[in-house]
Symmetry: C2
Subunit: 199 residues, 2 copies
């Protein structure tokens, strides 16, 4: 059954909000965020990589101290993140990426990434970090790893406000769902490391 | 004037709580956290390194949506961090550290670092990241960078629950206050990188 109003929503949902991820997506399988978190846990368990999701940035306004050691936050607001959601260490390399879901079948809207996040990916890429985007087209059930270099050159060359699905199909790496690890994106990172001067 | 009750407190204050750092420390100069944040901003401005403080981890319990785009967190709690507070990229290397202040003049109590943070520093060190601790003895006005290797071998060899100041004076690197950058810890990181196999 289709409910166009709900399903056609163009805006990508942020793949990283912790507090509601299990509530709002339970009818359509695991969220990209959950799958990445499970994958990162698995990587840590097998001592392969240490990559974590950063906590959601929050501006705290009011805190209560009902007892000496217990602080209760009574008023706080979500703030705009200045970096990406995931970073860590793999084979001595600095890894940095952002993960997003979109319901669109045709394109990924660039409004889903904050300008300073794009700037951040550029800085990481310039300083020999491994930077990329993981984008899931939920309606197509396709998940891609797009290297920051390709993202940045697309933004530089195009005036469009979205990246067409075809660019993902041509330039990005398809990430297939596995049992374990759920989304084996380090397999692609190995290719990215191998392709560069493995300094 | 001395107020023994307040001043002799052995427990180190966490150097990374954002919301009260300016309130509680205004009488004794800048907090270590503020100085590290200013230093990291400066490093970014001169395009030297991209090292950030992670947001404080929080468990969100209740959120209100007074309007469509505005979420107000009404109930949340601080949670125990599973990693360190600062990480990032410098010269293609993964940098990872924790910063703490202590009022003690004689030793740094190991209870100030969570066991999984120590485990995390060990993992980072094992996987060729640059891991360390920055500790400020506020009463002595001495700030040290202690490499994770030295921290870990001390913990392994000693059964003590604190690291004596003499170990810092012997094994760690003294970080002097400058004007700009405020605490030039990357100068020491250069030594650490140079000392290892610069892989």
């Amino acid at each position: 059954m289709n409910y166009p109003g709900g399903i056609k929503k163009e805006k990508a949902t942020k793949a990283n909000t912790t507090y509601d991820s299990n509530l709002s997506h339970k009818n359509r399988g695991m969220t990209l965020e959950s799958e990445i978190n499970i994958t990162n846990e698995y990587y840590r368990e097998i001592d392969k990589a240490y990559i974590y999701k950063k906590p959601t940035p929050i501006k705290i306004v009011k805190v209560d101290y009902p007892s000496r050691d217990k602080a209760k936050i009574k008023e706080a607001y979500f703030t705009v993140p200045s970096t990406t959601d995931y970073n860590g260490l793999y084979k001595g390399k600095y890894i940095d990426f952002e993960a997003k879901e979109t319901k669109s079948k045709t394109a990924f809207a660039l409004t889903n990434i904050h300008p300073h996040q794009i700037e951040h990916l550029k800085n990481i890429d310039n300083h020999k970090g491994i930077a990329f985007l993981i984008v899931r087209f939920t309606s197509l059930n396709e998940t891609y790893l797009l290297p920051a270099k390709d993202l940045l050159s697309y933004i530089k060359e195009s005036s469009k406000k979205s990246i067409p699905i075809n660019l993902f199909r041509e330039k990005a790496y398809l990430l297939k769902d596995n049992y374990m690890p759920r989304i084996d994106y380090l397999k692609i990172v190995d290719i990215l490391i191998g392709g560069k001067n493995n300094a």
